[in-house]
Amino acid sequence: MPPMIDPTLFDQIKSKIEEDTAVRKELEQIVDELHQHVSFTQGLLSKIHSTPRSKYPTLLPQVEEGIKSQVATVAKLSAYASQFPYYKYNHKWTRPLQDSLSTVLLYSWLSSPSHPLLTPTSISTFYSIPLNLTTTEDKFHLTTEEYLLALISIIDDLSRLAMNSVTLGDTALAVEISTFIKDLHAGFQVLNLKNDILRKRVDSIKYAVKKVEDVVYDLSLRGLIPAAAAGATGEEEKKKE
């Protein structure tokens, strides 16, 4: 009579579990490293709330350094994680990766007066990480959700900056932020959302919009909107009508 349990089965399963544990440990180390770089960069970026735009040229290069370290760590993570099924361990790094993306998005937005928004494609190029793999290729990549969640983070940050920029006397920036956030808000309304984390975060955008609108309202009430920005927003309004 054959035994109940195949004698080789135990060792086979045991070694697989041990392997899995080892992979998780290794991933945790890399993710920790990423987390540290991200926190540092986020900390630097938080200075925008007290730094006038004229001082950006000294602040932003520092941010860029932090971002470089992040990109290097993401590359390390990508090389290691690509050996394993992506979605098996994806939950380990998705949060810090989103935070990393949002520092890059915010940096890019602040770095030029035209306030460019990095698209998923351009951010994927920036990290040299593929984007949204849905076919058979099972490798490390950036997902649509991660990009969108990162975008929502910078909306929150910018709505705070709108207020603080007024305090710093830069009312034009508040108006620029308002235009940007409103456009993004409209963009998010294009999405069909399910009852998930993305839906929850998208729902929060309206509070950011309201916050910035209140700031702009306060400014307009007191005639504090700079002429150039007023012209721009005025046109904006006309276009919509």
Partner: protein
């Protein structure tokens, strides 16, 4: 007081004529095309997930029905009772079809992406391991399960092959299908599918041991008549219990693992209690009497 809007500079905006039709909810701007692309990607994902969840729910229900059918068996035997075998076959055929519909959606990267929507596989493993145990009194290995899964998907993808035996007109059909066979997607079981399925198997074995002992008066197992020291289900349960106790806890889902392990411990103890009862007073016990073990079925006759 209200009744007209002001622009950002506080000047009243005049409205001419009747109220304009409500604006379209979605404003077009420079980001719209990007968001439309992202929407399509998200939609694809959500739709696929929905399809998987629907099939998964049905597969779970069918697997449970197989398990219920198997619980009507009273002894371990290579040959299942005819009516039960027939029921198992029908259910498996239904599962085949469902698996075939979702198999292409869970290839490669998507296998783990939708792992949480595929809880049905755990249930299916439970049914298949239980079926295997009742036939052979052994625990099926992942290597033995994998061809069974392949076969299930294959049958679902090419159902006409079974029909061909009865339908002469279809006789020519299998030949072109043969060439397609290479492309039949596989449904891979993950280690977790297997292990959690086997965890649940211990519960089914406990239920089976309880009912079969109560109704037949003998402990299930033992193989052929000629065996000197037939192995009973009590020993099998002990072996499974030790198997799980000795395995390292996977760091992925400690909480679930501990919970399942605790349930397994209880099942093992219920069955060993059965073994004790039968040893000590097996012959005195009237047939049909069931020890109160909580998980037992109702006796068939009073």
């Amino acid at each position: 007081m209200s009744g007209f809007k002001r622009d950002w500079n506080g000047n009243a905006k005049k409205r001419e004529g009747p109220k304009p039709p409500p604006k379209k909810a979605v404003v077009q701007n420079q980001f719209t095309p990007m968001f439309e692309t992202l929407r399509d990607e998200l939609d694809q994902h959500h739709d696929r997930r929905e399809r998987i969840i629907k099939a998964s729910r049905d597969i779970t229900a069918l697997s449970k029905k197989i398990i219920f059918a198997l619980q009507r068996i009273r002894k371990i035997d290579e040959e299942l009772p005819k009516n039960i075998q027939a029921e198992v076959d029908t259910r498996l055929a239904d599962i085949s079809k469902l698996l075939a519909t979702i198999a292409p959606e869970i290839q490669g990267i998507n296998r783990y992406r939708y792992a949480r929507s595929l809880m049905c596989l755990e249930e299916l493993v439970e049914a298949l391991t239980f079926l295997h145990y009742l036939k052979t009194q052994t625990l099926i290995t992942p290597e033995q399960l994998s061809p069974i899964m392949d076969e299930l998907v294959r049958k679902g993808v090419t159902p006409s092959e079974d029909v061909a035996m009865t339908d002469v007109n279809e006789a020519a059909a299998p030949i072109p299908e043969r060439s397609e066979e290479k492309e039949i997607p596989r449904v891979d079981l993950t280690q977790d599918d297997y292990l959690y399925g086997v965890f649940d198997l211990t519960g089914e074995m406990m239920r089976f041991a309880t009912t079969s002992t109560a109704l037949t008066g003998t402990m299930a197992g033992g193989g052929a008549e000629g065996d000197e020291q037939p192995r009973t289900i009590v020993e099998d349960m002990h072996e499974l219990g030790s198997f799980f106790e000795m395995l390292p806890v996977g760091s992925g889902n400690k909480f679930q693992w501990e919970k399942k392990l605790e349930v397994t411990r209880q099942s093992v103890q219920k069955v060993e209690r059965l073994g004790y009862d039968r040893t000590i007073r097996g012959s005195e016990r009237p047939k049909g009497w069931i020890p109160d073990l909580g998980g037992g079925d109702q006796p068939e006759e009073e």
